[in-house]
């Protein structure tokens, strides 16, 4: 049974740019542990004769022609943005990068 440590949760939080408090880390570590346990149970029943599956449909090569389709107007695209400026999405500065 793979357990997930509090440190691993903290690492994932950092990658996800989430700031988690000590209590939240404990809480989420326990929850993620349950989820991983449930997935591990599925792995137990997968025998060697069952290939790993990433997609339930027996389909390949679903493609579209290279033809332009109208999308959203800039107003529509930005309508749900918490902040916009110069017709662009405005986001807080990125910390700890580059």
């Amino acid at each position: 049974m793979p357990g997930i440590t509090r440190e691993e949760v903290a690492h994932l939080a950092r990658l996800s740019r989430l700031e988690l408090g000590a209590e939240e880390l404990d809480h989420l570590a326990a929850q993620l542990d349950d989820i991983i346990g449930a997935v591990a149970r599925v792995a137990e029943v997968a025998a060697d004769d069952i290939p790993p599956t990433s997609h339930p449909l027996p389909l390949t090569n679903v493609m579209r022609p290279d033809v332009i389709r109208p999308g959203l107007s800039p107003e529509e695209a930005l309508s749900g943005a918490p902040a916009a400026e110069e017709q662009r999405f405005r986001v807080p500065r990125i910390l700890g990068e580059e």
Binding site: L15, V62, S73, E85, Q87
Partner: protein, 500 residues
């Protein structure tokens, strides 16, 4: 670390053996994005070419662009790669605002093309660069960093995002480690990127203009002490965007690594930024490990399984490869390596061929594009092929010179006129009155005048010193403002002086 405190390049190569890895991203020239039907047109209003899919809205589903897959396969074939019989897309998870989905749809352990090579010429020798893989992915949005001093991320208060570029198809081409190049390493890197660019253009899958970001190179470099097998720690210099910069970045990193290692320091695995102004690099972020990207198969896209028939059909569409074409043209034109390389570097092979197709002699076509027009392009700081003159117009100028209606000097003025937007060559000749004057009656007066004004020289010629005629021809050319037919002038002078 500045360029001045570095160990010299020669000293670095005394002790260390460089190993390179080059990752080149090519933006495909498809009409639409990789996974949605938004236009890829360059230079549109911000956020005017977006839709729920490329904005990463919940519930939006991607569908693969068939032409992008076709282009990827053709690139793979041209690089002598195997084409996967079956492959999937994968999610590369990272949180950064240029990617609104919070993951980039890429390929991980199942690239569409793998195990190939590209031969490049370096100092007259052929170098085989092994290709590890070429895979499909999508471009990111563009960030503007606001506030702070310089528009760079450092000190920025906030960022503005335009997602028009987000989702444009990219092919990432990754080499295997390039070993054994020694002091030639920077030149091998440059030659590889140059050859790849030619190949991409010949395939017609992208214009691959580095200055527009249509082709970008990440240069990995590590050093190991000479004689050691194991690779050293590498750095990855991101977004090196010209051929010259590729060479400079590798050279700088060789010197920087050697300086750090010789001082007993360690190289950190990190990304670095290249600076055009002084050719140096500075530290970027510490590189995330592949596992931090938590790659997993993209559940919203079905696998791509190109049939062998399709692959063979695409193989049949491959153009003559640039290296073979160069060899063929060099033999046909009978030019030396240096002249051929000059034409390749100036990017004029295609326009020369088009000019020949339009009726010009190969010699004349080469002469105009490599000489006068390359010079004009340099003056304007643009690529020759983008000058506002067509191959047909150059062919017409060459024809006018061939028939004797223009001499070279007048032809250059005609080219001036065409470049200035004065219309077709014939219209420029007409409007500027540039025809060569070879009519004897029109030239006679000028010839007589020149003889009268240079009696001493005329006597010498009468006395048998025929080579002195050049001075008199020059005088006539001057009075006729260069429009006289110099050959005819010479004949007329000699006739009048009774020595012909």
């Amino acid at each position: 670390m500045s360029t001045t405190s570095l160990m010299s390049y020669e000293d670095a190569l005394e002790t260390y053996d460089p190993v390179m890895g080059l990752e080149v991203h090519v933006e495909l020239g498809t009409a639409t994005k990789m996974f949605c039907g938004c236009s890829t047109e360059f230079g549109a209003e911000p956020n005017s070419q977006v839709c729920p899919t490329c904005l990463g809205m919940p519930g939006a589903l991607p569908v693969v662009n068939a032409v992008a897959v076709e282009s990827a396969i053709r690139i793979g074939l041209a690089l002598n790669c195997n084409i996967a019989e079956w492959c999937r897309f994968a999610r590369k998870n990272y949180f950064y605002p240029d990617m609104p989905k919070n993951f980039q749809t890429s390929q991980y352990d199942e690239p569409i093309a793998f195990e190939g090579y590209l031969d490049v010429q370096v100092e007259g020798k052929t170098w085989r660069v092994e290709i590890e893989r070429a895979h499909m992915e999508e471009d990111t949005g563009k960030s503007l960093h606001m506030g702070g001093a310089t528009g760079r991320i450092h000190g920025a208060d906030y960022s503005l995002l335009d997602y028009n570029r987000c989702g444009i198809p990219l092919i990432e081409i990754v080499t295997k480690p390039i070993e054994g190049a020694g002091e030639l390493a920077p030149l091998v890197a440059k030659a590889y990127v140059a050859e790849l660019r030619e190949l991409i253009r010949a395939l017609g899958v992208s214009e691959a203009r580095m200055e527009l970001g249509q082709m970008r190179c990440d240069a990995n470099l590590s050093l190991r002490p000479k004689g050691r097998e194991k690779f050293g720690t590498r750095s990855e210099t991101k977004n090196v965007n010209s051929l010259r910069s590729v060479e400079r970045a590798i050279r700088f990193e060789i010197q920087r690594h050697a300086t750090v290692l010789t001082d007993g320091g360690t190289i950190v695995q990190e990304t670095r930024h290249f600076h055009e102004d002084d050719g140096s690099t500075t530290a970027g972020r510490i590189k995330e490990e592949a596992e931090d990207y938590r790659y997993f198969p993209e559940p919203d896209l079905v696998p791509v399984a190109p049939s062998r028939e399709w692959v063979e059909e695409l193989r049949a569409t491959l153009p003559e490869l640039p290296s073979l074409r160069r060899a063929r043209l060099q033999a046909e034109w009978g030019v030396n390596d240096f002249e051929m390389q000059s034409m390749v570097n100036a990017g004029v092979l295609d326009v020369i061929l088009a000019t020949i197709d339009a009726g010009a002699h190969a010699d004349a076509a080469r002469k105009w594009w490599l000489g006068e027009l390359s010079r004009r392009a340099n003056e304007r700081g643009v690529e020759v092929a983008t000058l506002p003159i067509t191959a047909a117009q150059v062919a017409r100028v060459a024809a006018l010179v061939e028939s004797g209606e223009l001499n070279d000097k007048l032809a250059r003025q005609v080219i001036d006129g065409v470049l200035a937007g004065e219309g077709e060559p014939d219209a420029v000749v007409e409007a500027r009155g540039l025809k060569v004057v070879s009519d004897d009656s029109a030239l006679g007066a000028a010839v007589d005048e020149a003889i009268a004004a240079n009696a001493g020289i005329a006597d010498k010629i009468r006395g048998g010193k025929v080579q002195a005629v050049g001075a008199l021809v020059g005088a006539v050319m001057k009075t006729t403002r260069g429009q006289a037919d110099a050959a005819r002038v010479r004949e007329l002078i000699l006739e009048r002086l009774g020595v012909s």
